[in-house]
Symmetry: C2
Subunit: 149 residues, 2 copies
């Protein structure tokens, strides 16, 4: 029974109290939407979704709460080639990489322990202490690869 077994919302509240931060209705609502929306979404998308539930929440608060979720280790930032920051739910058991279709934008999550192993090996060989990584493969997905152009 480690803390990673309980649901994410509770882990978020734990983090907040550990840091001495208040658990406001806005932060709870944002976290709930975040955890209920799998995949990779920009602030814009989260903001729109949250506005439907509580139109009174400002985009600044969404930013700040997503940053909090990152600090808590419950969210990850993703940088794609379009220079828009996306957020995804952090899964501590399966740190995954991304396979992205350059045509339609579809994102497939991939996870390969062999690559993880090589990354650690390379970092150590260069004397680096590894914190994290971002690994994105770009290509044409099965649906798009056959469409000539």
């Amino acid at each position: 029974m480690t803390s990673s077994d309980i649901d994410p919302q509770s882990r978020f509240l734990q983090f907040m109290s550990r840091k001495g931060l208040n658990t406001t209705s806005q932060r709870k609502a944002i976290a709930e939407v975040f955890f209920g929306l799998p995949g990779h979404h920009s602030l814009e998308e989260f903001y729109r979704e949250i506005s439907r539930i509580d139109p009174g929440i400002g985009q600044t608060t969404v930013y700040r709460t997503l940053k909090l979720l990152c600090e808590a280790g419950l969210a990850n930032e993703i940088q794609l080639k379009d220079n828009i920051t996306r957020y995804e739910i952090a899964n501590p058991n399966a740190h995954h990489d991304h396979l992205i279709c350059a045509r339609c934008g579809k994102i497939v999550e991939i996870c390969d322990p062999r690559i993880e192993e090589l990354q650690k090996e390379i970092a150590e060989k260069n004397g680096f202490k590894l914190f994290g990584h971002s690994h994105n493969l770009y290509g044409a997905c099965p649906d798009c690869r056959d469409k000539n152009n």
Copy 2:
């Protein structure tokens, strides 16, 4: 004697004439600076460097020429976590990844054929036709890892 044996500037000119584009003095100057500046640099850095040689060149032209170099396959865009687009010289023989110090920003280039192999394998397993990838490892470099904080 393939085209990859001749110097990059000539390959750029070849590309231009193949595409029916004009070889202007600005484009030649920008390409020359680009090929003479190893590493990973933002537009800002290239623009500053070029301004010292020819202050009359506008930043828009630098943008456009760097895009041309990418199209020609002589340059690559790099996306780091700071949402600034960087450009590097594309080395067709050693497609390398990046090991980045999260403290001081130092970038070490790495190249591991085993990872390349795994990437291809993963893409194929998912039915993707692979175009390229971006692979960045973040950590603390030898100089920074010992400084507590």
